[in-house]
Symmetry: C2
Subunit: 459 residues, 2 copies
Amino acid sequence: MRLPTDEELLAELAEYVAIPSDSRSAPIETMREAAGWLAARLAFANGRVEETDGFPVVRGEWLGAPGAPTVLVYGHYDVQPTGELAEWTTPPFETVVEGDGVDAVVRGRGVTDDKGPVLLVLALARAMLEQDGALPLNLTFLFEGEEEIGSPHLPAYVRAHADELAADLVISADGAMWRPTEPSLSVASKGLVAMDVVVTAADRDLHSGRYGGTVANPVHALATLVASLHGRDGAVAVDGFYDGVDELTPERRAEIDAVDFDEEAYRASVGVPELAGESGYSTLQRLWERPTLEVNGITAGGRYSVIPHRAVAHVTCRLVGTQDPDAVAAAVTEHVRSLRLPGVEVAVHTDEGRVPAYRIDREHPAIRSAAAALEEVYPGQEVLLAVIAGTLPAATLFEDVLGAKTLFFSFATADEQHHAPNEFFRIRRFGEGMRAWRALWTGLAAWEPRGVAAVGVAP
Amino acid sequence: MRLPTDEELLAELAEYVAIPSDSRSAPIETMREAAGWLAARLAFANGRVEETDGFPVVRGEWLGAPGAPTVLVYGHYDVQPTGELAEWTTPPFETVVEGDGVDAVVRGRGVTDDKGPVLLVLALARAMLEQDGALPLNLTFLFEGEEEIGSPHLPAYVRAHADELAADLVISADGAMWRPTEPSLSVASKGLVAMDVVVTAADRDLHSGRYGGTVANPVHALATLVASLHGRDGAVAVDGFYDGVDELTPERRAEIDAVDFDEEAYRASVGVPELAGESGYSTLQRLWERPTLEVNGITAGGRYSVIPHRAVAHVTCRLVGTQDPDAVAAAVTEHVRSLRLPGVEVAVHTDEGRVPAYRIDREHPAIRSAAAALEEVYPGQEVLLAVIAGTLPAATLFEDVLGAKTLFFSFATADEQHHAPNEFFRIRRFGEGMRAWRALWTGLAAWEPRGVAAVGVAP
């Protein structure tokens, strides 16, 4: 069949990226505009915008394959904030193509997370319907507008529409291949809980001379708090943080050590003087299997000569195993409070979106079909079973509410500056992704979900 | 004599404040506009704007009192940044009068630091010349535009014009009375050295999931650095920081303890849950006699889910005794470097403006004349000899280059939110200040500086 060309997809992507659907700061009108634009691309499946208590979702379904499995395709139309505009080499909401051939990329906020990876699925489905007249299985579509803020309203929406969204499998167009060098599938992703630690002292900023030495400085107090969150060994030094984290087995260590991973190349790719983290684990063991606590930023005072009256740290914990997001938030809160720093008041505000870690068994038919599809598109390359160290909140939700596992099948790659300035997407992934999704759908068409369940899918 | 009215001075101040002469961010055109406006108020003394390698200075002189001492009047026309506009209750560059009678204040950026206190001196001099036909002593004027950024270009200017600026005494219209409850004079001010501590790791912000646990987080490293700068006793924990700081004598402790100072009222006035600082000293002992190291702010990342690639702390040290600003900067730099935190690079950039602490002997004729002037304006109130815990970089410069001591004789008050949002100035200080400056000039007219020097002014 004739697949849509890169040029056709780039033209669509340019329109889509131009809608600055930053879910942290955009007005609802902008979010509705992005949703409406996406719904129009989904006309073949009765695409439509449905309101939630937050930003709307985009829905659709094509159910013309009776007897075949039903797959829910998930993705999101919101994007991360741009961050410092000065750090962008091109305007964030204009797509710019750079490079040639297999190295060609398109830049812009959201191109890889998640606008490009979603568009290629819709373009493929339209092409298959036009040229084949049908799809090999039933598809329903759910694209949300709050993924980058922790999906606060998705659970209520999915619960309220569970019957309509019923599916044998969810395939997520969000996520990312681990790296550009080989095809990979994810069999796990980390959970997430985020919070603000707020330290206050005086009721206003004070002149650092005229009041210096008489009141506590919230920046010093916050620094003491943040410094206390990790030990010198790089481990998180919060009592109870590791509850639910199993120690790595020798077998799993060996399995990870067997992955072809060039630490020096990785170090160079991120530009750090040396890799760092929790001692006792290799870099890849830490990335795939260990929970983290990162301060994403501090907001406090400025450059001029004051004792600031307020200092705030935003903290994100990435979770593994059976770590409970609420328990982790409570542990961090208790840790911070127990320090009892003089002269300041400390509060912790935990974000609404809380996501436990997620796993899919490597023998699940979805993983087997996806691996076969990737082997078809990337002949001669072994498909790596990797871990997404990022968080995909929807996966846990779909398992809880719909009883369906989620396969991550994004054609983003993890090095494409997700969440950072100069986000990009490899243009070759358009074609690779469409061929792979086509092969996956075709492979899954023969799947009999109840039969598989009967022989026992691992939890 | 008839002094200018509050209404006349408020009208002038409104014009002056409307020029947003923030020396950290304003373009040179704005700074020239402020300088030109001020020079026009100085027409009686051949007021003029003179260029420097930075922002211009305003100069003037009235030398019609042969045989009498010559006094250099110093002040500045630049102001601090506004900080967060949302924290201002009125627009920062519009003067707004609030309250009645002795409680009446005028709000706006620079009203008390240093636009109001300068204007009242010029208005007084004009009134005296108009009504008396002469001034009792010779006056030269020097107003700079870089006080709030550490006066980087003033030293070169003063050295190049030392002959023209020669004076027996400098009187600074910058500074502040310690508090509104009694008249006070400052016999010391703290020095200043400021620096940026910059921690970097990756070459870009990284997704906190997809890279979490593999690279050092500059925010954690900076927090560890900042937390290490003070001990649990509140003292600065930097080797060599206290070099040049004499331990407080029992006599000085007793003298400070004898000052009527209500710790609870002070605590309530700044809104902190409790006062805090270096142990072993009372609040007022710390404020007046102990050096400080304050982090004025941290710039790092933001609220969204990244590992920031850069974290910066701005640090200000206030110095006492004979602490050497260069040595303090070197000590902090060495301290920061010696921590050798893994996975990050650390740099310290010290600001250009570096000022040692300053003292004037309490028996100096300028202090005696000033005390007499204040007793005349505030009958029945004892004049308190206090310390300005802030920094007035020009004083050291004038002593070094002109051989003249500086008397701080500002009618600002230290609680008027200098450097913070909602800066204000007590309107009653216009009249009090003009009467006091008139009495001071009259008192100093009889001074024979060389005679005084011959009997030994303390160093």
